[in-house]
Subunit: 335 residues, 2 copies
């Protein structure tokens, strides 16, 4: 019989977490183990704080995603929020509600998924909370980031005439979720299909891109695509008191999403517009920022950016298809 | 039929939260509504961050506790962690996983319980997260506090010979929980019994006391009593590499706990030692700090402090009963 989290107990689990977390950097005055963690703020900077949770049965299923992927994703979705603010992550809190039947191996894997991404981003785990759960596994992450106060990217500061740019590609995570739901055997998937599952399971926060665009003031506004492009475009438009036009033909649809849509008789554009969890960034870029924006994003490794629309003075959200405008539709709601 | 959280939807709920949260102070550069919140750190201070969650069926039951009490308690237990570090709370994040069947009235009451305590402590709600839950209600709170770096109270800095002091009284919350479990009718409870239920439902974080003791360097170490006195004493002893002797006769047992123990044939001392959730503070106070400690705590309103033991050079945790020493026993585990 394999060990469960119950058999190891709270202190045993905290000891395992602490061991995996390693030695924090010197600006962490007090890490895991006290009533709270103590962090030295960066001089001349502001704190940028965010929290987001993954709930079993709502955001993931253990039949579909391995514990490592769940741990990775719980951190990645929060890093994406900081990326969208152009903030550099500085410290993480990890709070988990654990079903008592969870195996110790699964707990360790979940921690490993979280810790290896944290390590890559040089992000110390400074505290958190472990409790039992009567049913679902719930992973709640809080991040404290830092940024220069005038280099932050907000969502309510877009201007009419700004161009809209999105990083990477769209529809991959939604396609990955379709494959997982349908139980498509992985042997039946090509590299693009596998990339979609991987995007769903292990989203890649666009930290370098967000931070560099913010530092260089190369965009007027930004949000991340947690709930899909339509939702993100609406968020920028509503918050800025503007309208938006998205150009259907310009959308960088992921090839795996395109292939899946063709095979399933679905509209690839709709998947790219409404599919959530791609965790790309959507920027509003002013005419005088374009040059800097392209210079900065060209330095962000392989990550491409695509112009997909523009902000308009008249409110209303539209999709341009060939010569006509259609309503953009509604974004995703968690309820 | 009454409205549920599902019928209002995520944005409607966020709008309600935002409305109740009111206008944040000017050091909150960006509050609810963006990908993350932006806070101006206090100059010359460190950030003190903590997170703690309440899970339905583990930490509370909706049959026993009203939504207002749940909201209050979710914040109070986190404030207690900051109090134990001598940190002043500065900003809160509130993350709730909501069963879709939760009535809108209950949601509003929960928010009200949280917000009225936050208001009293002048603590702005700057962000958070709402998601649905397949089963239990989960309330996760993160607080960012501030303190002078050399005025923080840790748990690993007690010294041999320090006296142990506890605030307020012990065993009240555990007694309140007994009454709720037993379904004792409130009409059958006297004022002390009602006070116990109230302590369980609406714990009172000892913020002023913790912060003042820290500012005046009037203690060498501190923890809060979330999991009972035995656990707290062990935490200080283990972290500081010391032992501890608790004096049974000195324990400030709450009169409601004493009356309940007498009626139920239980040991009042055991309830005071092991009963969790009193959220009092336990201080280790050095001989040269005693004068300042008493001067400071005398200014903390009606809150009394009681000397209940001492830290010893030899490791081991003991209970002094009359002339003999007994092992102190184990603290509470969440698993």
């Amino acid at each position: 019989m394999s060990l469960t989290v119950e058999s190891v107990g709270e202190r045993g689990l905290i000891a395992r977490l602490r061991c995996r977390a390693g030695t924090p950097p010197d600006w962490v005055a007090l890490g895991i183990g006290d009533d709270a963690a103590v962090i030295q703020p960066k001089r001349g900077s502001v704190d940028v704080v965010t929290t987001d949770s993954l709930v079993e049965g709502v955001h993931f299923r253990r039949e579909w995603s391995k514990p490592q992927a769940i741990g990775h994703k719980a951190l990645a979705v929060n890093l994406s929020d900081l990326a969208a603010m152009a903030a550099t992550p500085r410290a993480a809190l990890l709070s988990i509600a654990l079903p008592l039947s969870l195996s110790l191996g699964d707990f360790d894997e979940l921690v490993e998924g979280f810790a290896s991404l944290a390590e890559r981003e040089r992000l110390p785990l400074v505290g958190g909370n472990l409790t039992r759960s009567p049913a679902p596994l719930v992973v709640d992450v809080t991040l404290i980031g830092t940024a220069h106060p005038r280099r932050i990217l907000r969502r309510d500061t877009a201007r009419a005439g700004d161009a809209l740019y999105v990083t990477g590609s769209l529809g991959a995570a939604a396609t990955g979720l379709f494959h997982l739901r349908d139980g498509t055997p992985r042997s039946g998937l090509d590299a693009d299909g596998m990339a979609c599952i991987n995007r769903y399971d292990r989203p890649e926060p666009r930290l370098t891109c967000g931070v560099q665009v913010g530092r260089n003031r190369a965009a007027s506004a930004c949000v991340d695509l947690s709930d899909g492009l339509v939702d993100a475009a609406r968020q920028i438009a509503d918050a800025s008191g503007l309208g938006v036009v998205v150009d259907a033909a310009a959308l960088p649809v992921h090839p795996g999403a395109r292939a899946f849509a063709a095979a399933a008789g679905l509209d690839a554009t709709r998947i790219a517009l409404s599919g959530g969890e791609d965790y790309e960034l959507l920027f509003a870029v002013g005419p005088r920022q374009l040059r800097a924006f392209h210079a900065v994003t060209a330095r962000c490794g392989d990550l491409c950016v695509t112009k997909i629309g523009r902000m308009t003075r008249e409110t209303g959200c539209w999709l341009a298809i060939e010569d006509r405008l259609e309503p953009l539709g509604e974004g995703f709601s968690h309820f």
